[in-house]
């Protein structure tokens, strides 16, 4: 009895292990959440709510889920001036993040466009590369 349990368990472990091996999903080249935490979280906060009057929220907003080229542009060039997000005024500048690679920017923007209440499609490294080329 004990042996047969061991056998079934072993088979199960094997099946699961093999199953795991059978889906050779390539890990994404960059981890959007990790990069967000490293480069964005301090100002935009862990929950994306930002800082009232200073750094805008990235939750449920067209600034994130809307026009891709504007969003990529903000990452590459930063943003200075007064803007309104979800009805509130924000005045503090955002620095340029052009030092990040196309892949890193794509991963961050895909992460924020598919989290924090945003339900938009992702952004590819190729789209970032094109935007980077066009602004030069």
């Amino acid at each position: 009895m004990k042996n047969s349990f061991c056998f079934v368990a072993s088979v199960l472990v094997l099946v699961i292990a093999c199953g795991g091996n059978k889906t050779p999903e390539k890990a994404p080249p960059e981890d959007g959440k990790l990069l967000f935490n490293k480069y964005c979280l301090a100002c935009h906060q862990a929950d994306g709510s930002g800082v009232p009057g200073m750094y805008p929220p990235i939750t449920n907003t067209e600034w994130v889920a809307g026009d891709k080229s504007r969003l990529i542009g903000i990452m590459l060039d930063g943003l200075e001036g007064e803007i309104k997000v979800n009805g509130q005024v924000y005045k503090t500048a955002m620095p340029s993040h052009q030092y990040l690679s196309d892949e890193q920017i794509a991963a961050i923007l895909t992460y924020v466009r598919t989290n924090f209440g945003n339900k938009a499609d992702g952004i590819s490294a190729a789209e970032v590369a094109t935007a980077r080329k066009n602004r030069q």
Partner: protein, 428 residues
């Protein structure tokens, strides 16, 4: 029997008299009644509070006229106006006349020589007060103009001495004077050119219209990143400021600082300023665990080395990192108990740069003073503005204390940046 009756009468009369005295005492409490639970804030025993007004806009600094009228600066225009004037006409302490005026938003606001001085990010104006009217003359005079439009630490805050001078905090539009601001690996500019026009306290004449920073400004003190809290202490004739320390040590120097290090470094510094002082920014910051200034990593520091920081001005007190001291007043009245006389109240707006650790601040602190210096450590005076613990993100806070003023009767007024609430705190 008669004797018994006599004692009965005596006992009853005594009780009656006591009851009357008690009633009289209750009746004698003058002034407005406190709100239930003091309008949501927590105060030391013996103190009470009520909301003077609520939902005024995003409040900044506050001023209270000798007749009790209150003026609140707004961070953003509300219905096209940047200042709120409030008056209580019924004696219940709550504002029932509320009027908006002024075409610019701003932070600094101060009553001085029959004028209301008001600091927008690029200009300092003054409005002539009218004897009895709530609203001043609506066309302001320009006292100082030409501050460049900035998008970081742009708020101007002001103080006046008794010798005809106006002091203006001109914050640095930068975190630590890197070549590329807030960018990993970007070195600090050396010398930091920002200090020529920012990152210090500039002195002007208090009643000369048409001044500019370049033409008329005198750099009174430098090496101050941003001092939203600035006040002249009339009791000792000295200028005091509280500095917002630099941000993001962990983010830009992860090899030197952990998230926890960043949450605790650097201190927010309380300075007694003398003419010509250099307080160290951007080259140095104050490590409150070590109790000294250390070299910033942008200038070659490793978290321990002190380098060129030896000669920089030390604070008279250091507060927890990132808690955002946004206003300072010295208590000069006698309504509060003796230990509050000449002491300092500081409004800590509350942190954002402790993430991912929980945020701190969101209280009004008190520091007892003896002459020019603190007489004891700081303590929390008013708390629970955020309305919840922990505050994980600043957006969680229901209120954030922003401005302070004392009324002619010695009450303490506190303004809020989230909903534009004003509390009046009094001692029972």
């Amino acid at each position: 029997m008669d004797r018994k009756l006599f004692f009965c009468h005596l006992a009853l009369s005594t009780i009656g008299l006591l009851a009357l005295t008690t009633c009289n005492r209750t009746d004698k409490v003058s002034g407005p009644a406190a709100d239930p639970e003091n309008g949501g804030i927590v105060l030391p025993p013996g103190f009470s509070a009520y909301m003077v007004a609520d939902n005024l806009g995003h409040g900044r600094h506050i001023a209270v006229r000798s007749n009790g009228d209150v003026f609140l600066a707004l961070q953003d225009l509300k219905d096209g106006k940047g200042i709120v004037a409030l008056r209580d006409t019924t004696g219940d302490g709550r504002a029932d006349r509320i009027a908006y005026f002024g075409d610019l938003p701003g932070t600094g606001i101060h009553l001085h020589k029959d004028y209301l001085y008001f600091a927008h990010d690029t200009v300092i104006l003054r409005y002539k007060l009218k004897a009895d009217d709530l609203l001043p003359e609506l066309t302001p005079e320009t006292i100082v103009s030409g501050f460049k439009r900035e998008y970081q630490h742009a708020a101007k805050t002001i103080a006046f001495d008794t010798s005809g001078n106006l002091y203006v905090n001109i914050g640095a539009p930068s975190n630590a004077c890197q070549q590329n601001d807030r960018t990993p690996g970007s070195p600090g500019m050396d010398p930091c050119p920002i200090l020529d026009n920012y990152g210090g306290i500039w002195r002007f004449k208090d009643d000369v219209p048409g001044q500019t920073q370049a033409k008329d400004g005198f750099r009174f003190a430098t090496g101050l990143r941003n001092c939203v809290a600035i006040e002249w202490n009339n009791a000792v004739n000295k200028l005091y400021v509280v500095q917002h320390g630099r941000d993001q040590l962990n983010q830009f120097f992860p090899d030197l600082y952990t998230d926890e290090d960043n949450a605790n470094l650097p201190a927010e510094e309380f300075f007694l300023l003398e003419e010509g002082d250099d307080c160290g920014w951007p080259y140095c910051y104050f490590d409150n665990q070590k109790g000294l200034k250390v070299l910033s990593p942008e200038y070659g520091g490793n978290g321990d080395s002190t380098g060129r920081c030896a000669g920089k001005k030390d604070p008279i007190m250091a507060f927890p990192a990132h808690t955002a001291p946004n206003d300072l007043i010295f208590y000069s009245k006698d309504q509060f108990p003796d230990r509050y006389r000449q002491g300092a109240f500081i409004a800590f707006h509350g942190s954002w740069n402790r993430s991912p650790l929980v945020q701190e601040g969101y209280y009004v602190a008190f520091i007892p003073f003896n002459n020019q210096l603190p007489a004891a450590d700081w303590e929390i005076f008013a708390n629970n503005f955020a309305g919840k613990t922990p505050v994980n993100s600043p957006g969680d806070a229901l209120h954030r204390p922003m401005g302070l003023a004392q009324g002619a009767d010695g009450s303490l007024y506190i303004s809020d940046s989230v909903k534009g609430t004003i509390w009046r705190v009094f001692y029972n």
